[in-house]
Subunit: 146 residues, 8 copies
């Protein structure tokens, strides 16, 4: 049995496709908070509005890191997707975090990012272009597990 | 004495400013290959042209990772700069790698990236806007070392 | 699922509030021995009265450390509260122990301790003033866990 | 050869006594920033005045943690003194941090703190009342090193 | 309870003998993908035919390493068999990987390989000639487990 | 919940007393092979009579180490008893192994061994004279576990 | 500065070529005992002829492992060559050992072994065909080290 | 270069023979306090006479553990001798401590202890009968170090 963390951006619903595609396999999926507003505002909601955007973001990001880093540590495999929009530095950060812990990385990204993502691809055990391909790899990995 | 790795993008010469600014302190600086062409082409130069851009990049990135990951492990402190250009996913990857190893992070970035970099800033021990501020922090850290 | 250790002082019943507040969430709570007399006297009770206060305390504290340190290692998250009374050096010790192991810290303390607790707050993923706020953070963290 | 970190409070000059007392031994001493004002104000001095006391302290404490945690990791032995004044929660935090990393602890404190410090004393390899006694232990440890 | 990884070559069905021989014991067995064609072709099947044999093998081997290395980490005991055919460098690689992680090794090989396998035998907790002997050892280990 | 390994000599049935005394507590006990003949002869039984007493012992001891070291790693707490007979170097070896892994040690020995066991007692979290006292400590540790 | 271990077979003098080729770089090279007879016979020479070939090899291999494993741990980079002759299982074992410890691998082998070495190549940071190419990579890595 | 800790009993001068025998090799030797009276009395000398033999021994043993455990961690190789006299449980404890840390063990003992020391011998990389044989192994290990 594998524990798989679906890291990175939470603007699109790419995680659902993988979770549904693997629903018959013995895989435990973990993922970040997917309610974008809640993820951004948890700091403000709990400890109140801070004096600057920096600290509002800071408080929320530190609270969310409790979840993200704990799950990264619990995972055997980390899947990270780089989409066409947004900076996605947190996705790259998660990939580095996972790699340093010796977790296996599966990276999903479109062909245009080959050069920009070469360091992350170099650390990955698989580089694919679609969620479907990631599902096929996970399917291969679970097969015949005793 | 500290070992400091200057991670991330190699398009600008921000590292020189820090190294020169700290030249009188007992700090050992490490950095990635800064010859951009050599960094990109080392794979091609050694094992020959591959059949695709992906594999040309892949071979070079893996060779460069020998240096980058070895230095990240040797460092006490990792300084990473996010400039205004380029994707810089490798900079974010290095930051995640460093954080997972328990290294102390100093992040340099302009104010406009506050929201995009909130997860990395949350993992940092210091977030500053300029190389000069990073130098002031390093100066503070070395002072009175016995 | 998270394992949460509720560290620190055992003079007040702050732990119950958190445990009850999170009773519907998939969280495993661990805590120190909360019977104060038993915690203090376990050494005397088992190996007999020692020749000095120091050794009476010493024997009990070492036995209690079996529980406390084992639970700190098993935890993903450590919540530690600094109240208005007592030295609470053991609470600060637990926080340092947790931080060095890479556990995520949530610190609860009244505003007056901001300066005295700055080093511990700097190591924390969240700093709040009340048990209710800690509950809100835990609630945020468990939401939508797959 | 040993590396010894002198942790904890920086209000008094207890470290000098130990360093001078051991000046003929092959011991490398490390210590926190001892300029109290600089330690408190480094955040303000580098990144500017923050909007609240909490954040002023926070920025400084995180910068100082770069030094303190790096040195705690480099040390073989950590000496920590609990004096009669101040909360000294950072001293207890350092002791916990050191203990979790497997460092050997020497604790100095007056007799009146026996009960309050029982958990930290239980984790220590030596508990003494004076700097002189700590020096005698260090002298014993270095003797006849080949 | 033990977790046992049956490492190495997948040309013969030696694993079945051990699994069946231990079917009444509280042992969790893990093993590599045993469908040889699928193991070789998973890369091609998912990301398409690469431009060279090297990269076709490379993509498959990296995907398979997700399974193999994850299972090696999860195991308490690694059994590895060296048969009379094939290079079996991956079996030796698995043995080295397991040894560096502190896993206990049971090595099965015919007598003729004594000299060629001396380094791996030297790292093993048991060296036997047949699957039956490996089963007898596992039977001994589980007996009377409470 | 705790996992407790009952290490050391297998000539007497001291383990049963502890296991029965703790039968109502949520503790998982692990122990070495207690069939002395089987423990000594497993090597001979599986791989055949070796050419010398040294190698007969060697093969058996290595096979038994698979169990002992795996269980020492799985344990939170290690209880080790030093009785009045036999060399019991393996008991002391287990204690050192456990201590280096950061496991908590409870040592049982009669008063006459105070000087001979001072280094092991110094590494222990509790030193007692009887199995009953060890049971009382374990009872204290499990109480009120949530 | 890097520490490089030249692992694997000792029948040919491939190591000299690399050491000489890198003689002007700040690299510390480590290697196994290269006196083949001494490597094979050290057991016999020190503890005497054993009763079987297995034990003669066993004693020598364990003594040599003191050197090989210590050096593998000290290294940043491990270079391993697979030549055309011999089983070379120890080379593959070293590669697995290095990979599990997070060391960077450079693998040298002729093209004919692509399929047999695919698992080891998949774990490597560089795969080359000649010592000269390995030298070029090391040259690239040391360049501009500060 | 190797760091070698000469562990265990301090009643005889077996360490000198090894140190002198290796005086021309690049080996750093570490050893426990060899002044027996000082080793036993350091606790009493520094913190004063305790109320019982147990605590007098306890205070000294904990202080000496600062040296012994720090040196065990710094060592690559641990040599431990079991002589004909004394309980030597501390020697066996050191061997277990070293083994759990992955240090390489060389054990010296007379033939009569084969059965009593089988578990420790099983963990060793070499088992010899004399200091001279240990010297020959160390000589073999340092030869041709680059």
């Amino acid at each position: 049995m594998y524990t798989v963390y679906l890291a990175g951006e939470i603007h699109s619903n790419w995680r659902e496709e993988i979770i549904i595609g693997c629903k018959d396999y013995d895989i435990k999926f973990l993922r970040p908070e997917y309610d974008h507003a809640s993820s951004d505002d948890i700091g403000k909601n709990v400890v109140g509005e801070q004096e600057s955007d920096f600290y509002n973001d800071h408080v929320s990001a530190k609270i969310n890191s409790i979840r993200n880093h704990t799950y990264l540590k619990q995972a055997d495999i980390v899947v990270v997707k780089f989409g066409e929009k947004y900076k996605q530095w947190n996705a790259a950060f998660d990939a580095g975090y996972a790699n340093a812990l010796g977790k296996k990385l599966i990276v999903i990204h479109p062909e245009e990012f080959i050069h920009a993502l070469k360091e992350i691809d170099a650390a990955a055990s698989a580089v694919v272009k679609s969620e479907l391909q990631a599902i096929e790899i996970l399917e291969h990995l679970v097969r015949s597990t005793i």
